[in-house]
């Protein structure tokens, strides 16, 4: 039995866990401090310390490039506890993405949460982000179902709590309750699938599963189907793919804007990252292109299911947003559609003409990150000034805050997938891969839904530029939020003008065979 050859965590191995340990430690210290300090002490610095610990974690991740240099083609992946935990190129890059997003969201949220009267415990709201991010980082690194599940739950429970902290808003409580029930059901579904996967392969390790699945798919085809479809369905809830998405608008609406941004970006990204590991080690391998003809159809069927989910997400996300007047819900639906776009690189598999799914995925994820966080930052400002998140709150924004409006145009244009922005190239790369894999219908749906999405993204632009505001008063933009918005705008444009800067880096740092496909310890 392979699994009994247990591997313990040695002292040096702890060095590879520095980012996570740092975050957990900071979370505990800050929580304790928050609890112990008398109420008279102001809590503003907690948010900055949280930010600092995130930055520290990011620095630690960058430091890990020294331990494992992904750009070196011959470098060996650091694997802890027989791949429970991996320090590979994909994990490192994705951790940086997650941490960047978290920092931006935190920075943007500092003023927003401080001014949110519905949140009595502001300090905890910030510190609760740290375990959530820890969970997300775990998801980046893990290749073991147990660790993956725990990471997923750590992320999930932290976010339930973060939403619930907005206690004085009954909407937020409702959102938290909806989210926890749906989240728990989806966890149950994922677990059910995982349990079958474990049953037919005898392992929770993805590398082992990938290796054993070919035989298992032949012997226990039905169970493998159930396992993979349940896992896909469960993750579909987490990433809000249609028809598993319906919770998203409600939950997004109820949560405080920075928390919403966290849900829309970090939670979604982390779930996607985990899904990438699962799918590429199961369905993508079980295809004729890799295993040759005669392989069980289960891999292709799962990919087909993912394609259907992607298509449904794109169609429903965009069309439902057409009538949406609440910008938060609108961005939730936009997130649904974007989940569809992000699913495409996973769903198309690999072939002789295209193997750069991960690059497509990562690029669009990064573009999505910046444009969505930027949009939420602007929304936080506008929503606060207007007292609501309705579309009409944006009327005449151009007159009240011209530069913010201009920045928002860039973000919306990027969300709509128009050049010259990161959103455009993200979609373009995905589209190219889809076409290279001859999934024309998927490409067509991508493009057409993008066009439909012009309508509602530009409806915000219409409000900002073509309507007049009720008040001419200048809109005050808190410095941190403004900085975040502009970082996002600049990054979106940078991704648009120099897409190769990121893409090249990623393609060099991450390879499927080294980072995703786990060498089975024979």
């Amino acid at each position: 039995m392979l699994m009994t050859a247990t591997q313990a965590l040695t002292g040096p191995d702890v060095a590879y866990l520095v980012p996570e340990i740092l975050l957990v430690g900071a979370a505990i210290v800050l929580t304790v401090l928050d609890l112990l300090l008398p109420n008279t002490v102001r809590r503003g610095w907690i948010s900055w310390l949280t930010l600092a610990s995130l930055a520290g974690a990011a620095a630690a991740v960058i430091g890990q490039f020294a331990m494992f240099n992904p750009f070196d083609g011959d470098a060996e992946v650091v694997s802890l506890l027989s791949d429970s935990y991996r320090i590979d190129g994909f994990a490192l890059v994705m951790k940086l993405v997650i941490l960047t997003a978290s920092m931006l969201i935190l920075l943007m949220g500092i003023r927003t949460i401080e001014r949110d009267d519905a949140i009595p415990d502001k300090g905890e709201t910030f510190t609760m982000m740290l375990p959530a991010v820890t969970g997300a980082l775990v998801l980046c690194s893990t290749a073991d179902l147990i660790t993956m599940f725990v990471g997923l739950e750590l992320l999930g429970i932290s976010t339930y709590v973060m939403i619930g902290f907005r206690k004085k808003s009954s909407l937020a409580s409702e959102a938290a309750f909806k989210y926890i029930v749906i989240g728990a059901v989806s966890s149950a579904i994922i677990l059910f699938g995982m349990s079958y996967l474990y049953g037919v392969t005898g392992s929770t390790n993805l590398g082992w599963i990938a290796w054993a699945l070919e035989q298992a798919a032949a012997d226990y085809q039905a169970l493998v189907y159930v396992a993979l479809f349940f896992i896909v369905a469960g993750f579909a809830v987490k990433i809000a793919a249609v028809p598993f998405h319906a919770w998203a608008p409600d939950v997004y609406q109820g949560a405080a804007t920075p928390v919403t941004a966290f849900l829309a970006v970090v939670s979604k990204a982390a779930a996607f990252i985990a899904l990438v590991r699962v799918i590429f080690n199961t369905a993508v391998i079980q295809t004729p292109f890799i295993l040759g003809p005669g392989v069980s159809p289960v891999g292709e069927d799962v990919l087909l299911a993912l394609k259907v989910l992607a298509a449904a997400a794109m169609i429903v996300g965009t069309t439902a947003a057409l009538r949406q007047k609440n910008v938060k819900r609108l961005l939730a639906l936009s997130g649904v559609a974007n989940a569809g776009y992000l699913l495409v690189p996973l769903a198309i598999g690999i072939g002789s003409t295209s193997t750069n799914n991960l690059g497509d995925f990562a690029f669009y994820l990064v573009a999505y990150l910046f444009m969505t966080i930027g949009a939420f930052a602007v929304m936080a400002v506008v929503g606060r000034a207007a007292g609501h998140d309705e579309l009409k709150g944006y009327a005449g924004l151009y007159y009240r805050a011209p530069w913010t409006a201009a920045g928002m145009v860039v973000l919306l244009v990027s969300l709509a997938g128009l050049p010259v922005t990161g959103g455009f190239f993200g979609k373009l790369f995905i589209l190219l891969s889809a076409v290279q894999m001859k999934d024309y219908w998927l490409a067509a749906i991508m493009v057409v839904t993008s066009v439909i999405s012009y309508y509602f993204y530009f409806s915000i632009i219409r409000q900002m530029f073509m309507r007049t505001a009720e008040t001419e008063a200048k809109l005050s933009v808190p410095a941190p939020t403004g900085i975040v918005a502009w970082i996002c705008v600049v990054a979106t444009l940078a991704l648009g003008f120099l897409p190769n800067a990121f893409m090249d880096m990623f393609e060099q740092a991450v390879t499927l065979s080294r980072d995703i496909w786990i060498a089975v310890p024979k």
Binding site: I290, T353, N356, L431, V435, Q436, M466, N500
Partner: protein, 535 residues
């Protein structure tokens, strides 16, 4: 002469320089803003005229600017390939096909900038979008990389959305939306076609012993040569069947996608309805550009990408194209005849005139293709002039309803005369540019499709019918009291009118100025068609 100086880049991005200057001007200083914009637009005009003068068809590389822009080395595991990459270049060039349109674009831009006196609010923002729009359209005509072309194409889309939506008339938002969605759909189809092309014909492979270098490029010339050389990629290592080969069905699909994409822009029947609202709602100087230049991007794209990449398919589809063209000519004319709003008359007249472009394209011979381009340029000038006049009239009378207008020749003899002149130019009177484009298109098509040409020629009569009906309704007839005190054109309106008219006359009297520039531009296409027939 050209040296290594990036003249084309300067040409394309010179409006951006002016835009930056504009940003530093106070938003309330209308005159300064306007004159900055006008002077800015003069730069590309001067450059393009200079290029026009020195362009030498035999030396296509004289003004070629090529730089690596996006080169992405891709993962290439699982395939026996040494390396693979996306290569999208910054690649600008001119030839006989793009040059006339570049001149047209920069010329109309100057005129539209002059005509921007009709803009009454938010001047700074207006000129910012205006100049962005100009960069976009210049780029469209110069770009030689599919992705770059698309970028410029979309830039015009966004800029125009703002220009219509903010400065248009009553239903401006709706018009802007219609424009955005419809044209967005067009460019989406185009994007699919482009992506299909890049993924197949854009792939080139340099085989080596261990594997090969696979490059996906958006370079027009590469795609073109790969498309014509059917089996360029059989040297794929291993025993994969050539995954880059385009089946006949796919070729047709791409061709039809391109046809629809640019057909929407042109607009080709039945994709024209979006244009009506734009024509009716956009501010005058924007419609001048829209009708004068942006529609031409459709014709340009049809020739460059539709016919240029798939001459064989174009030949097989020529009859359908010609029918569509003829239908457009007659349908547009018949509809123009019953419109009661002058701008709608002109909109349908554009449908009709763009039908002639299709006829010229469908001919697939040098005369017809040149005729199509000639018609593009000519219609660009004429419609710019017409819309300039319409804008000036609308500013004074407050209406463009034909029933409410009449007898304007008395209070406004100059503008009425101009309107009449533009009208007769539009209906194809010899001596003015419209005739040459029309005549060459008909002449070209007549070689292959006599009956279609003959039927389409009925449109010549109908053009006279609807143009005279509306123009005479406005200018002739008894003078109306309420218009008696109206003033004729101001100098800043008269100058662009006269200038446009001068170009119309020049092109009508001395067509060689344009046809010589286009000489040889279609040699490749013609040669390919001949080779097909020979083979």
């Amino acid at each position: 002469m050209a040296g290594s100086f990036p003249w084309l880049t300067l040409l394309t991005f010179s409006p951006i320089i002016g835009l930056i200057v504009l940003l530093f001007l106070p938003g309330t200083n209308r005159r300064a803003l306007r004159w900055t914009a006008i002077v800015t637009t003069l730069v590309p005009l001067a450059l393009s005229l200079w290029l026009f003068a020195v362009h030498d068809a035999s030396d296509p590389d004289a003004f070629r600017e090529k730089a690596d822009w996006i080169t992405i080395a891709l993962n290439h595991e699982a395939v026996n390939i040494e390396s693979s990459a996306y290569v999208f270049q910054y690649h600008l060039a001119i030839d006989g096909l793009s040059l006339p349109l570049v001149v047209l674009a920069s010329l109309v831009a100057v005129m539209a900038a002059l005509a921007s006196v009709h803009i009454k609010k938010r001047w700074k923002a207006f000129y910012v979008w205006f100049l962005l729009l100009e960069t976009g359209m210049l780029g469209v005509f110069l770009a030689r990389d599919l992705i770059l072309f698309f970028l410029f194409f979309e830039l015009t889309l966004i800029a125009l959305f703002f220009l219509i939506g903010i400065w248009g008339s009553l239903n401006r938002e709706k018009a802007a939306n219609t424009f955005l969605i419809y044209n967005g759909l067009g460019s989406a189809l185009m994007l699919i076609a482009f992506v299909l092309l890049i993924a197949t014909a854009g792939a080139s492979l340099n085989a080596t012993q261990q594997g090969g270098d696979l490059v996906y490029t958006g370079d027009y010339a590469t795609i073109r040569s790969n498309l014509t050389a059917e089996n360029s990629l059989t040297n794929l290592p291993g025993h994969y069947e050539n995954p880059f080969a385009l089946s006949d069905g796919m070729r047709w699909a791409i061709f039809i996608l391109l046809l629809a994409a640019f057909g929407i822009k042109l607009p080709m029947l039945p994709f024209h309805t979006w244009m009506l609202r734009v024509h009716a709602e956009a501010p005058p100087s924007v419609v001048m550009i829209h009708s004068g230049v942006l529609l031409k991007m459709g014709g340009y794209g049809l020739i460059r990408f539709g016919v240029g990449l798939f001459p064989g398919l174009a030949e097989e589809a020529a009859f359908v194209l010609a029918l569509l063209g003829a239908a457009g000519v007659l349908y547009g004319a018949a509809l123009a005849f019953v419109q009661t709003e002058f701008r709608l008359v002109l909109a349908y007249s554009s449908v009709s005139h763009m039908g002639i472009v299709l006829l010229g394209i469908a001919s697939l011979n040098e005369i017809g293709l040149q005729g199509a381009v000639y018609q593009l340029v000519s219609h660009g000038l004429i419609s710019a002039l017409l819309f300039l006049i319409v804008g000036s009239l609308h500013e004074r009378t407050g209406t463009t309803e034909l029933d409410e207008l009449g007898g304007l020749a008395r209070p406004m003899p100059f503008m009425s005369g101009m309107l009449l002149a533009a009208g007769v130019a539009s209906l194809g009177l010899p001596g003015l540019s419209g005739f040459v484009g029309e005549f060459l298109s008909f002449l070209g098509l007549f070689e292959t499709m006599k009956w279609v040409t003959a039927i389409a020629a009925i449109g010549v009569i109908l053009a006279a019918v609807y143009i005279l009906r509306s123009v005479l309704k406005i200018t002739f007839g008894p003078q109306q009291e309420r218009y008696a005190a109206l003033k004729d054109a101001r100098l800043i309106e008269a100058v662009p009118m006269i200038a446009l008219m001068a170009f119309i006359v020049l092109l009508g009297i001395y067509p060689s100025v344009l046809t010589d520039a286009m000489q040889g531009s279609f040699d490749d296409i013609i040669a390919q068609l001949n080779a097909r027939m020979g083979g």
